[in-house]
Amino acid sequence: MAAANAGDVEVVDFDSDDDDLMDDDAPEVNPAPAAPRLRSTIAAGGDSAAARKTKGRGFREEPSSSRPLVGRTDFDSLGSDDGPGPLRSFSVCAAIEGWIILVTGVHEEAQEDDLHNAFREFGQVKNLHLNLDRRTGFVKGYALIEYESFDEAQAAIKAMDGTELVTQIINVDWAFSSGPVMRRNVRRRYVFVDVVKCIRLFICIEFLVRAK
C-alpha cells in the first residue's frame, strides 16, 4: 500500500465534514469552508505543487479510536452564543471569574515584577502567569494576566499594546473570544449595528422635523 495514498485517506477521514458540521452552534461559526481546503489540497496528491508535505506515523496507520474529539457534539461550548468579542473567563475555568489578557513578545529575561509593575496601574492584578520554558528556564515569551473587571482589562490592552517592556515591544490582547476568527462575519455584524443606529437616527430626525 503506497504511503502517500494511505496518507491521503487518513487525512480526509480526520478532517471530515461530519466533525465540522456537528459542532456548529452559532450560525456564523462555519469552519467547514476550511475543511474542503485541507482535503482538496491533500487529495490533489503529489502531482499538485500546492499539496501539503506530510510526515509521520499518523499518515501510515489506520485511523484508531484515539480520536475522542472527532464527531462529538456534546462539548461545553463556552460563550459562542454571545456574538463576537471578549469572553469572561468565568465560563472557561469556573474558579477564575475575571477577564484574562494575553501579553506576547515578553523578553525572555523579564521577571514577574516587571509585568506586575507595568500592569498594576489599570487595576488590581488578580493573577499573573508568566510561562517559563522548562528547558531553558527563560520566559517563554507570553504571560496571562487576570483583572476583575472588563474595563480594567480593556484599559490595560489599549494602553499597553505595542509598547515597550524590558527593551522589547509587547502585544496585548484578550485571551478568549466569543466567536471564531472570521473577520468577514465580524465586519458584517458591525455593519448591521451601524445600519440600525442610522435608522434610529433617521426616525428621530423625521419626528423632529414633523413636530415642527
Binding site: K55, G56, G58, P68, L102, T104, W174
Partner: protein, 145 residues
C-alpha cells in the same frame, strides 16, 4: 476562509492517553484554524466523568501558539525513530502549518530519562517540551493556584 493577508493555515492537535484498568483515560486538545480551542479530559478512575470544553481564543493566542511551534522547529522532526506506542499508552501530535502537515505518534514519555535513552533524544526532547508549553492545562492550573 477570510484571514489576514498572507497568513498560513494553522491547526494543532495533541492527544495522550491509554486504555487500562480505568477505561480510556486521555487528554486531548485542539487548536482549530478558526480559533476554536477544544479540550477533553477523561478518566474513569473513581467514576470521574469526561470534561469537554470548547472556547474561542483570540487571534493573538493562535499567533502565539504558531510562533511557539515555529520556534520549537518540531516541523523539522520525524517520528521514525521514536518509541512506538505500547501498553502504557500513546501520544499523538498533529500540526498543519502552511504547506506542511505532520502527524507524529509515539509512546507516553514518563520523564526526561525516557527521552535521553531513546534513539532520537533531540527530536523527542523538542516534542516533550513543546507539549508542556502548549497544554492549556498549564496556565489554567497556574492561575488557579
Amino acid at each position: 476562509m477570510a484571514r489576514g493577508g498572507g497568513e498560513e493555515e494553522f491547526y494543532l492537535r495533541y492527544y495522550v492517553g491509554h486504555k487500562g484498568q480505568f477505561g480510556h483515560e486521555f487528554l486531548e486538545f485542539e487548536f482549530r484554524p478558526d480559533g476554536k480551542l477544544r479540550y477533553a479530559n477523561n478518566s474513569n478512575y473513581r467514576n470521574d466523568t469526561m470534561i469537554r470544553k470548547e472556547v474561542f481564543v483570540s487571534p493573538t493566542v493562535l499567533r502565539e501558539a504558531r510562533r511557539i511551534v515555529e520556534q520549537s522547529q518540531v516541523m523539522k522532526e520525524d517520528d521514525r525513530n521514536w518509541p512506538v506506542p505500547d501498553r502504557d499508552g500513546k501520544q499523538e501530535l498533529e500540526i498543519v502549518m502552511g504547506n506542511q502537515h505532520i502527524s507524529f505518534i509515539t509512546s507516553k514519555i514518563g520523564s526526561l530519562i525516557n527521552v535521553q535513552s531513546s534513539h532520537d533524544p533531540e527530536g523527542l526532547r523538542i516534542f516533550y517540551y513543546l507539549v508542556q508549553v502548549l497544554n492549556p492545562q498549564t496556565p489554567c492550573r497556574a492561575l488557579l493556584f
